[in-house]
């Protein structure tokens, strides 16, 4: 039995089906990341777990206990809100110790735990500051400390980095993972940012329209997508998707033999009818005897260069190391897919394995 077990959760808002019978398992001490586009129901799920929303049906157990019978205030689940939701009329210390004071924890114990948690989030000396005087990063740490001090069985983090500037995000990302791992806290984090998901999660759950599209270790869902949605959601620049209709691409006859040569797949593995061919930009490389294309636009993003080109009648992106070869707009180019790097999806978007 998993530490947190969620079965068949359904939630509708008026006429919108937000969650459609969702199952999820979270193992103890894992950081699980719920990833998905906005409106996919990930925040709703987080709020249901915390008890801030009631599901229409389904069940949840935490550490073997039925969670739905326990009122919010007794669940002992820490929640870090997207906009932190710090109490504006309280200073840093009052914010952090709120959860202990309402539980009537003794003064000495409060003092001790406050010291520990302040050290952990590196906010020593800020006890008497007003929360409005703090920077975004500091406010975020107060929110984290406030949730940590109650020694939660489970931590829920709703887009904890979305209100920080890009520079700060990387360091905060590392810091949050460090703290959660140090304390051995089980956590569920919601994000729409794939980099956050991949770097922070032990397990990533990709959600789409109230359902789980795929779950697994970050590496697995990136390198082994189950469907077109997952393949397209992860990766930047996005995976190239080429539509093949009865051996034709945009009216250009390619045939199974050619496809087999390009993708390195056995001719028998290539389906008839309509299907999609997916290949990530980093698995396309220049090759003299490769597929002919034309360069439309060149983007240098630092170490890498994205070469946008027209290939077989579709727009395609190739990602190469900057500086190796000079690419310029309007030039012809010949490229090849790295062997074994192509995914095939059927017309409904399901992976053909």
């Amino acid at each position: 039995m998993s530490f947190l077990e969620i079965r068949g959760i359904v939630k509708d808002f008026d006429d919108t089906k937000v969650l459609q019978g969702l199952d999820l398992d979270v193992e103890e001490k894992d950081i699980l990341v719920l990833l998905g586009p906005s409106g996919c129901g990930k925040t709703t799920l987080l709020r249901i777990i915390a008890g801030l929303l009631d599901p229409d049906s389904g069940s949840m157990t935490l550490d073997g206990k039925n969670l739905l019978e326990v009122p919010v205030e007794d669940r002992g689940i820490g929640f870090v809100f997207q906009k932190y939701a710090l109490f504006p009329h309280m200073n840093v210390e009052e914010n952090i110790t709120f959860g202990l004071k309402v539980r009537k924890v003794g003064k000495d114990e409060i003092k001790k735990r406050l010291d520990d948690v302040l050290e952990l989030v590196e906010l020593k000396g800020y006890e008497k500051r007003k929360v409005s005087e703090l920077s975004g990063g500091q406010q975020q740490r107060v929110a984290l400390a406030r949730a940590l001090i109650i020694k939660p069985k489970l931590m829920l983090l709703d887009e904890p980095l979305s209100n920080l500037d890009a520079k700060l995000r990387t360091s905060v990302r590392v810091n949050i993972v460090r703290i959660l791992k140090k304390l051995g806290i089980t956590a569920i984090m919601v994000t729409h940012d794939q980099v956050e998901a991949m770097t922070m999660g032990d397990k990533v759950v990709l959600m789409n329209e109230g359902k789980i599209s795929q779950e697994g270790r970050p590496k697995d869902i990136y390198f082994d997508p189950d469907n077109l949605f997952v393949a397209e959601f992860l990766g930047s620049p996005k995976i190239n998707v080429l539509k093949v209709e009865s051996g034709c691409m945009n009216g250009i006859n390619v045939g199974k033999e050619m496809l087999s040569k390009w993708t390195g797949l056995d001719e028998r593995a290539i389906p008839d009818g309509t299907f999609y061919l997916g290949v990530r930009p980093e698995y396309i490389a220049p090759a003299d005897d490769g597929i002919k294309g034309k360069i439309e636009h060149v983007e240098i993003s630092g170490a890498d260069t994205n070469v946008h080109m027209e290939l077989l009648g579709s727009g395609c992106v190739m990602r190469v190391s900057s500086g190796s070869v000079e690419y310029s707009e309007g030039n012809d180019v010949a490229v090849a897919f790295r062997s074994g790097s192509c995914y095939l999806f059927d017309s409904s978007g399901k992976r053909i394995r």
Binding site: A50, G78, K83, F87, H89
Partner: protein, 264 residues
């Protein structure tokens, strides 16, 4: 450049005139409360404190002020006790019904007081509330409630409800979260509506005249009655001066200790 300066000067003059227009009655009252003449005259004929002495001896005015203070305090307290939960309910319960309810709660503001007062007399005579403290307080609560609901709702619109959710996940029951998080957040609205409500109740002549009866004559009603029978009594001027001085002192103290004007 020159034109700009000219407009600046005109602006200043207009502002000064408006300020004067507002301040003159207050100044006149203060000055005249020390006027030795029985009749209104300006400039005053001589200096005296006798009107103040007379006020201290006058039981009727003192009782009237006491009645007014009592009615205003009670009405404000009950209006807050009713209005704060009502506003919170409207804020939380986001449905078409809550919109209808909130405009219904504000409707007494639109109704001419006199129209409502006439209905109230007839109704009160049926239920035997005419002339009772309860009846007067009840009527004043209805007068105050729209202000309370309006101002508290506007304070609530600044409340990030996730702060309440945060308190709940940290172990606070819904009641405790209300006391510790919601109440402090709407404090400005509560303070201002208490002040406004107090003034509305203390000022009301129309409704109170109709239903006060003899036992619960409030200060403005007493003054109005005197004015109708005796003409402008210098005693009333002195009392007004006292009330005004009192108000100014309270406002200054409140500013010093809670800086309440920032909530306006």
């Amino acid at each position: 450049m020159k034109e700009k300066k000219l407009w600046g000067n005109i602006n200043a003059v207009v502002a000064l005139l408006v300020l004067l227009f507002m301040l003159v009655p207050i100044i006149v009252i203060f000055v005249n409360s020390f006027n030795s003449s029985q009749f209104f005259s300006f400039p005053p004929e001589g200096f005296t404190l006798k009107w103040y002495e007379r006020f201290l001896e006058n039981r009727e005015y003192k009782t009237a002020i006491a009645v007014s203070l009592k009615i205003a305090t009670l009405s404000v307290l009950v209006a807050l006790l009713l209005g704060i939960p009502a506003s919170y309910g409207i804020y939380r319960w986001k449905s078409p019904v809550s919109k209808v309810l909130s405009s219904l709660f504000l409707s007494p503001l639109m109704l001419p007081g006199i129209v409502w007062a006439i209905g109230l007399i007839q109704y009160y005579s049926i239920v035997n509330l005419t002339g009772t403290t309860a009846g007067l307080v009840a009527a004043h609560i209805i007068l105050i409630l729209p202000y309370v609901i309006r101002l508290v709702l506007s304070s609530l619109s600044y409340l990030d409800f996730d702060t309440v959710n945060a308190a709940r996940t940290l172990g606070a029951t819904s009641g405790k979260a209300f006391l510790k998080i919601v109440l402090p957040a709407i404090k400005p609205g509560v303070i201002i509506s208490a002040i406004f409500g107090f003034m509305v109740s203390f000022n009301d002549v129309t409704i109170s005249t109709f239903i006060a009866g003899t036992k619960n004559l409030t200060y403005p009603v007493r003054m109005y009655v005197e004015l109708r029978t005796e003409g402008l009594d210098p005693l009333a001027v002195a009392v007004s001066a006292v009330i005004m001085a009192f108000t100014i002192v309270i406002a200054l103290l409140a500013e010093k200790f809670w800086s309440w004007s920032k909530y306006l």
